[in-house]
Symmetry: C2
Subunit: 416 residues, 2 copies
């Protein structure tokens, strides 16, 4: 059977993917090998050769969710979102399509982006086989199909019966808000069985190993509001996912843990990251977190605050949130707004993890010279500010002729 990145790392072999990551992340080759070996660094790859590293020592990565829903099916807009994701610096895309011809939409997104793509295979099983009718074989067969098509990563929700029993009647305000988690839960409840991915774990490992697809362990128990505090179900899932991650790693399968996501009080963020870190060193993927529920229509901003706080203390991989979160499927423009907000969060996180970046300095040097187009070279999104800045070099209209920088530049430059 074909060796995975972990197999090669165990042999001490530097793969072309690791070599590429070493260059991109400015991490020496031995470090890349040892981190892939211990699972703290994961490499998502596309068959086009593109590689993205997530985890220890790598810059904080940002994922863009896109895809149709049962209510909103505009495949062209999903393609547009994929273009936007790539243009404005997303590291990965997750296709969550549940409306229209899901396979065709997925293939089309594949064709329009070079970024690694993640899917949640149970979504397609639910749509095409029915939530109440799908079988474990159906779920696994969609997993196989999507792996064969070249997805870089899949999300599997390894919720267990004991967790479901724990949140039943536990008084959570929002109950369960994970879509993939709810599908898997309904499957388990209606078939009176345990989790299909855990029941068929060896087969799942075999499927993922075939193309060295990264396993992302979903966060079914995440909170849907900040008043749904950390509870026993959260803890059980975090512990169980850490154990499953170890098992996957032993199979040579790279793994990411989705954790602490959803809605969390701001002062709990650091402690939760530390809790996950106490369980394992696999890369930590967070959605948001959202430290307030009242930022409706502005959840990308609340999420950027939470994600900055989470990445500051060690989250490796951020799932963006758009202004449309909790309201509607986002438009392409809202995808851009959400992505840029999370690029800001990852950049701020990196400034704490790795020190402040030269990009900020380059931009400031252009700013002090009123070189507008020069600033845009370093801006996270050059297009939006271009519509707002002066056409020619010179102070902006905020201060006009009373610009402090201009007024003081002669005095300060005299320097002696």
């Amino acid at each position: 059977m074909k060796a995975t990145q972990i197999d090669h790392a165990l042999d001490g072999t530097l793969t072309p993917e690791m070599e590429l990551i070493s260059r991109i992340e400015k991490m020496d080759e031995e470090t890349v090998i040892s981190r892939v070996e211990d699972g703290s660094l994961v490499i998502m790859k596309r068959d086009n050769g593109r590689c993205v590293a997530i985890g220890r020592g790598a810059t904080t990565k940002v994922n863009v969710n896109l895809g149709t829903s049962s209510d909103t099916i505009h495949p062209g807009e999903e393609i547009e979102k994929a273009h936007i994701a790539e243009k404005y610096g997303a590291d990965t895309i997750t296709d969550l399509s549940m409306g229209g011809d899901i396979s065709a939409i997925r293939r089309s997104i594949f064709g329009h982006t070079s970024l690694p793509i993640t899917t949640v295979p149970v979504y397609q099983a639910v749509v095409e086989k029915g939530l109440m009718d799908m079988t474990a074989d159906d779920i696994l067969s969609y997993l196989k199909i999507q792996v064969d098509e070249g997805v870089s990563s899949v999300v599997l929700h390894c919720v267990q019966k004991k967790m479901l029993e724990r949140i039943k009647g536990a008084g959570r305000v929002m109950g369960m808000v994970s879509k993939g988690g709810s599908f898997t839960s309904v499957f388990m409840l209606s078939n009176k069985c345990e989790n299909p991915f855990i029941e068929h774990f060896d087969e799942v490992m075999e499927i993922l190993r075939k193309k060295d697809v990264v396993l992302s362990l979903g966060n079914t128990m995440r909170s849907g509001c900040i008043h749904d505090l950390w509870d026993e179900a959260h803890k059980m899932e975090a512990e169980s996912n850490a154990q499953l991650a170890h098992k996957a790693h032993e199979h040579g399968v790279q793994v990411i843990i989705e954790g602490m996501g959803g809605h969390i009080q701001a002062n709990d963020i650091a402690a939760r990251v530390q809790f996950y870190r106490s369980l394992s060193n696999y890369p930590l993927f967070v959605a948001g977190p959202l430290p307030t529920d009242i930022a409706v229509g502005y959840d990308h901003i609340a999420g950027a605050v939470g994600a900055s706080m989470a990445s500051d203390v060690g989250a490796d991989y951020l799932c963006y949130i758009t202004p449309a979160e909790h309201l509607s499927l986002p438009s392409p423009e809202q995808v851009r707004e959400g992505l840029v907000a999370f690029k800001i969060a990852s950049h701020i996180g990196d400034s704490i993890k790795y020190g402040i970046s030269g990009k900020d300095l380059e931009l400031a040097r252009k700013r002090v010279r009123f070189d507008w187009e020069g600033q845009m070279e370093h801006a996270l999104d050059p297009d939006k500010p271009r519509t707002m800045c002066p056409d020619n070099p010179g102070p902006c209209t905020m201060c006009g002729k009373y610009c402090a920088i201009s007024i003081m530049s002669n005095y300060l430059a005299e320097g002696n």
Copy 2:
């Protein structure tokens, strides 16, 4: 001479303003009196009776800057911005007008909002008397005029020659970026004199006492980019402002310290707040801070991240930043975006200072019932999400019929 809030507090008298603040801030009356007395809580008031408390034990407040510039003079838009500020929950407004008929614009803004208004009197002196021609008498006479008109607070930049000498040739990338600070500095340099506000401190105190106007000590030395690190000039100004604040307080004048603002690495924010706190307990006002320079066009988001971090550790009062920061005078719509971003930051800060709010819980309870209009009652901005949510109760178009909350609600509600 009329007694100020501090005078009354020293006498142990509860003023109507303190009584109002006690109710608004849910702080007992004795606590309000003692905090006004020690200066850790400041009350800004309008002649219409409106009072806003800033400081220890009060919720984190948000200021909106508005006003014309020399390049962009649309008084009608400034009125619109004042309406937006009040509608979306700004606590105070600062009128920074430097274009058109400044007095008329200020009076018009006064007439269109009930919020406390702050000004920077040197701005009008510069425009109407000339940066190189204005005298100390001119500056003080504009201060008097604006105080007589009923401003609630004034910003005075108490930069000193020794600070100017310190940053001259110090290699700061962005030099000086405080407009009021640069005007005051130019005045000092061209007249070869010390700071006019310090030179005439007793007179300034007399003017402010007359209407119990809050003195906001400006932050001339703030950094214009995150690579301009904390330097000796910053430290000198922070220490000098703390001393001046003590002097003002001894005169019975309420005082706020503008500090640490501008651009700061994220991991310095907590330490800087602590540094200011080590010098005095006067309310701390921060602009941003911005923890990155590359969020051009999205500085409201970078600022909301920095402001959340600052308010988490004790900043009392946040000056908003709009998406147009560094680019142009903001439009009314950009004022709204900036304000809501900073309302999010202050709300997150309060969740750490005082625990999570019932508003979040109320919103979550409406959300789980798909009560869209009910959610809007608790939203920071109900208008924007109204354009994005479903018209009728039911899951949103993000998940449609595959909504996790719907799918799991029966199982979870069975509770036993």
